[in-house]
C-alpha cells in the first residue's frame, strides 16, 4: 500500500492534522507506516476491520481500559506502555494469560508525529515483552484543544485455565493480604513531572506487565482467592472494593506496608498519603493463611516482587471496615478515597 505514496510520513517534524482521522489516504498512510509497521503481526497486516482469531481454549477473559494521562511521557514510562500494561494487568489479575489487544487512539490535532511515533514504539515494545499481539485498532483525530495530545483505549483478550477461579468476592476471614512491592511509585513519578517538582532522587514509575508475576503466584499458591492491581485510588481503594465485594473487614499493619523513602518524602511534601496513590506495576493478593508463606516466597523470587510483604489479614466485620494499626499501637480507618487527592492548604 505504501508504494502509492509520493512522500513518507514526516515522523520527525510532522504534526497530526484532521486528515489523519478522516478515513482517507492520510489516515491509511498513518496506519500502515506507523501503527502496522510497529505493531507488526499477521492479523493487523491483513488490514481488515476485524481480527479473526483462532479459538484460544479455556475460558475467555476480556478487559478494557482507557488511558488519559498528563504528561504523556514520565520517568519510567509513557502513555503507550501504560496502555498495554494496564489492560494486560487487568487480565492477569483474573489469572488469565493475555493474548491479544485492540487499541483505539484519539489524537489531538497538532500532536507532533514524533511524539506519536515514540508512543507507538513504546506500546509495541511493551506488547512484545508481555507476549501479546495488538491485532486491531482505530484512529480518530479531534480538533486542537479538544484532547490532551493522545487518549488510548485498549481492550485485551486472554484465556483462563480450567480450575482457576479468582474473584473479588472470595476473601474470607483469616486470609492473609500480600502486596508485591512498594506503593505510590507511579503516581508520584507522574505528579513530580506534572508539578515540575525536581526531586534530588528522581522517582520512576513502576509501570510493568504483571502476568508472569501473577502466574508464578498462582503456581505457588493454588488456593489463591484473588489478585488485584491497586491503580487509581491506590491500595486503600482496592482493599475497600474487595472488602465490599467479599463482605469482610481487613486489618493492616502500617509498618509492614512497603513505601520507598523518596516516595514517602514526596508525599509528605505534598500532603498526600501513599496508600491512596496510583500504582501500575503492583498487585495485591489474598490467600488462605496456610499458603501465605509459599505465596510470599513466590512473589519475592520474581524480579517484580522482590519487596513483597504480608501486610495484614482479612477479618469478619459487618461494616466492611479496612483498619490500619499504626506504628504507635493506635488504630485508624483506611477509608475509600473521596474526590481527588488534594494537597493541604497549610
Amino acid at each position: 500500500m505504501s508504494k502509492s505514496y509520493s512522500r513518507p510520513l514526516d515522523l520527525k517534524h510532522g504534526l497530526v492534522n484532521l486528515t489523519h482521522g478522516s478515513g482517507g489516504r492520510a489516515m491509511a498512510q498513518l496506519v500502515s507506516e506507523l501503527f502496522a509497521a510497529e505493531f507488526a503481526n499477521d492479523w493487523l497486516a491483513q488490514g481488515n476491520d476485524q481480527a479473526i482469531l483462532p479459538p484460544p481454549g479455556g475460558r475467555i477473559a476480556i478487559a478494557t481500559d482507557s488511558h488519559v494521562i498528563s504528561p504523556l511521557f514520565f520517568p519510567g514510562g509513557d502513555i503507550g506502555s501504560l496502555a498495554v500494561h494496564g489492560t494486560v494487568n487487568d487480565l492477569a489479575m483474573g489469572g488469565a494469560t493475555p493474548l491479544y489487544l485492540s487499541a483505539g487512539f484519539i489524537l489531538e490535532e497538532g500532536l507532533p508525529l514524533a511524539d506519536l511515533a515514540r508512543i507507538v514504539r513504546s506500546m509495541a515494545a511493551a506488547a512484545r515483552t508481555a507476549g501479546v499481539a495488538i491485532v486491531t485498532g482505530d484512529t480518530k483525530v479531534v480538533e486542537r484543544g479538544k484532547g490532551d495530545g493522545v487518549f488510548i483505549s485498549t481492550t485485551g483478550v486472554g484465556v483462563v485455565a480450567d480450575g482457576v477461579n479468582l474473584s473479588g468476592d472470595q476473601a474470607r476471614p483469616g486470609d492473609v493480604i500480600l502486596l508485591s512491592g512498594t506503593l505510590g511509585d507511579h503516581g508520584m513519578a507522574v505528579m513530580s513531572q506534572r508539578e515540575g517538582l525536581g526531586f534530588a532522587s528522581p522517582i520512576l514509575s513502576d509501570s510493568a506487565a504483571l502476568h508472569t508475576l501473577a502466574a508464578a503466584l498462582l503456581a505457588a499458591c493454588p488456593g489463591l482467592r484473588l489478585m488485584r492491581d491497586p491503580t487509581r485510588g491506590g491500595l486503600a481503594t482496592t482493599l475497600n472494593e474487595i472488602a465490599q465485594q467479599s463482605g469482610v473487614g481487613m486489618r493492616l499493619q502500617e509498618n509492614a506496608i512497603p513505601v520507598q523513602a523518596s516516595v514517602r518524602a514526596a508525599c509528605e511534601f505534598l500532603g498526600l498519603d501513599p496508600l491512596y496513590i496510583a500504582n501500575e506495576g503492583k498487585l495485591v493478593a489474598i490467600c488462605p493463611a496456610e499458603q501465605a508463606a509459599a505465596a510470599l516466597a513466590a512473589l519475592q523470587a520474581h524480579p517484580l516482587g522482590q519487596q513483597a510483604a504480608i501486610i495484614g489479614q482479612v477479618v469478619a466485620d459487618a461494616h466492611q471496615f479496612v483498619r490500619v494499626e499504626t506504628d504507635f499501637g493506635g488504630e485508624r480507618l483506611l477509608d475509600w478515597l473521596s474526590g481527588e487527592m488534594l494537597p493541604r492548604i497549610c
Binding site: A261, T326, F328, L333, G339, I345
Partner: protein, 372 residues
C-alpha cells in the same frame, strides 16, 4: 526522612503515652482543644486518642481554614468565577465547599466558570501574566500561615504592574478567634489549648500570652507530628496539675516568641485589620481578619468587583457551627456519615482533610461502627 521519622517513632510514642497515664490525676478531667485542623488530622491519622487515658478529652477547634469560611464568602467567589472575564484561582479544598443553591466552585467550573486550582500564589501570578486579557483573582484563604505568600504576591503584582491581578482576601487570625471562643456566653468548657505551631512560626508564641492570662488557660504551641502532639498533651497535663496557665512552646525547633519579623512586616505592608469578620460557626468575630491595605487597593478584588458581603445561614441540619465551637463532636451530628459524607458534604467540616468531620469520617468512625 531525616527530621520527620524521628517524630513518628512508635516505641517513643508508646513510652510517652505510658508517661501521660502516670501524669493524669484520676479524679480530674482534662478537656484540651486542638485549635488547628492539622492537629485534628494528626490525632485521627495516627490513632492517638486510643493511646490516651479516658479522662483526657481532645476537642476539635475552629482551626481549619476551609471550615471557617462562611457561605457568603464562597458565594462571592462563585459569583466572581462565573463572570466570563474572570479566572478564579483557589487552593484545592476550597473548591468543594458547599455554598448557596447547591453550588460549589467545582460545580461552577462544570457550568463553565474558569476556576483554577493552584498550589501557591506564584501560580496565580503566572496565570495573570499568561492571560493579560482576563481578570485573574486569587481567592485567598487561611490563617496567619498562608498570609505572607499572599502579601508577597501583592507586592510582586505591584512591582510588575500586573493590572489584571487581584486578591479576594479572606485571611483570618488565630488569637482573636481563641479569645472569642473563650468569651462566648455558651463557651465550651476547656482546660487548655494545643496551639497551632505553623501559625506561630509567623506570629510567634507571644500573641497568646494575653489570652492565656485573661482566661487562665494554658496554651502549648505544638508541632504537627504525632510525637509533638503527645508531648504537648503531657506538657498541658503538667501545667493543669500544677495550676499554671502559661504559654509554652513544644515546637521549639521552629517557633520563637516573636516569630518571623520579615513575614509579619510583609503582611503589615499589604494588609490591614478588619473591624469584624464572619466566621462559620463563630459568627462575627471582632478584629479577626485581614483586608487588603488601602495602599494596595488597586489589587483588592472586593473593590475592583464591588463585592458586597451577604450573610447566608448554614443548612438547618448541619452542626458544623457547634462542632467548630467545640460544643459537639462530629458523631453527635444527626446527618454525619448519612446524608453528609466526604463525597456529598453538607457542611464545610466534611470537606477539608483538616475538618473535624472529615477526619473522624476517614479515620475514626469504626469506633461507633457507622455504616460505610
Amino acid at each position: 526522612m531525616k527530621y520527620v521519622d524521628e517524630f513518628r517513632r512508635g516505641d517513643i510514642a508508646r513510652g510517652m503515652a505510658a508517661h501521660i497515664h502516670t501524669l493524669v490525676q484520676p479524679d480530674r478531667q482534662y478537656r484540651l482543644m486542638e485549635f488547628c485542623g492539622g492537629h485534628t488530622h494528626a490525632i485521627a491519622r495516627y490513632g492517638l486518642t486510643g493511646l490516651l487515658p479516658d479522662n483526657i478529652r481532645l476537642i476539635h477547634g475552629p482551626g481549619c481554614p476551609v471550615c471557617v469560611l462562611p457561605i457568603g464568602r464562597v458565594d462571592s467567589a462563585i459569583e466572581l468565577a462565573l463572570r466570563p472575564d474572570v479566572i478564579l484561582c483557589s487552593y484545592g479544598d476550597t473548591l468543594r465547599v458547599p455554598a448557596s443553591n447547591k453550588m460549589s466552585l467545582y460545580q461552577a467550573r462544570a457550568k463553565g466558570a474558569d476556576v483554577r486550582m493552584v498550589y501557591s500564589t506564584s501560580d496565580a501570578l503566572q496565570i495573570a501574566r499568561d492571560n493579560p486579557h482576563k481578570q485573574v483573582v486569587f481567592f485567598a484563604i487561611g490563617f496567619e500561615t498562608t498570609t505572607p505568600p499572599t502579601a508577597l504576591a501583592l507586592i510582586q503584582a505591584r512591582q510588575e504592574k500586573l493590572a489584571n491581578f487581584s486578591v479576594f482576601c479572606n485571611h483570618v487570625l488565630t488569637p482573636p478567634a481563641m479569645r472569642h471562643l473563650l468569651a462566648a456566653g455558651d463557651a465550651v468548657q476547656l482546660d487548655g489549648f494545643i496551639g497551632p505551631s505553623h501559625v506561630s512560626t509567623v506570629i510567634g508564641s507571644a500573641p497568646y500570652a494575653a489570652v492565656a492570662a485573661e482566661f487562665a488557660k494554658p496554651v502549648v504551641i505544638a508541632g504537627f507530628e504525632p510525637l509533638d502532639v503527645l508531648q504537648s498533651v503531657a506538657m498541658l497535663v503538667e501545667q493543669i496539675n500544677a495550676g499554671r496557665t502559661e504559654v509554652e512552646t513544644q515546637f521549639t525547633r521552629a517557633v520563637t516568641a516573636q516569630g518571623n519579623a520579615k513575614a509579619r512586616s510583609l503582611v503589615a505592608q499589604t494588609m490591614t485589620l478588619r473591624d469584624s469578620f464572619e466566621w462559620r460557626g463563630l459568627g462575627q468575630v471582632p478584629h479577626s481578619a485581614l483586608a487588603i491595605h488601602p495602599d494596595f487597593a488597586e489589587f483588592d478584588a472586593e473593590l475592583r468587583f464591588a463585592l458586597a458581603y451577604r450573610h447566608v445561614p448554614d443548612h438547618k441540619a448541619c452542626e458544623c457551627g457547634a462542632i467548630l465551637r467545640g460544643q459537639k463532636r462530629p458523631q453527635d451530628c444527626k446527618v454525619f456519615a448519612i446524608v453528609c459524607n466526604p463525597d456529598n458534604p453538607l457542611g464545610s467540616c466534611m470537606v477539608s482533610s483538616e475538618g473535624a468531620c472529615a477526619a473522624h469520617y476517614h479515620y475514626g468512625r469504626f469506633v461507633e461502627g457507622q455504616p460505610a
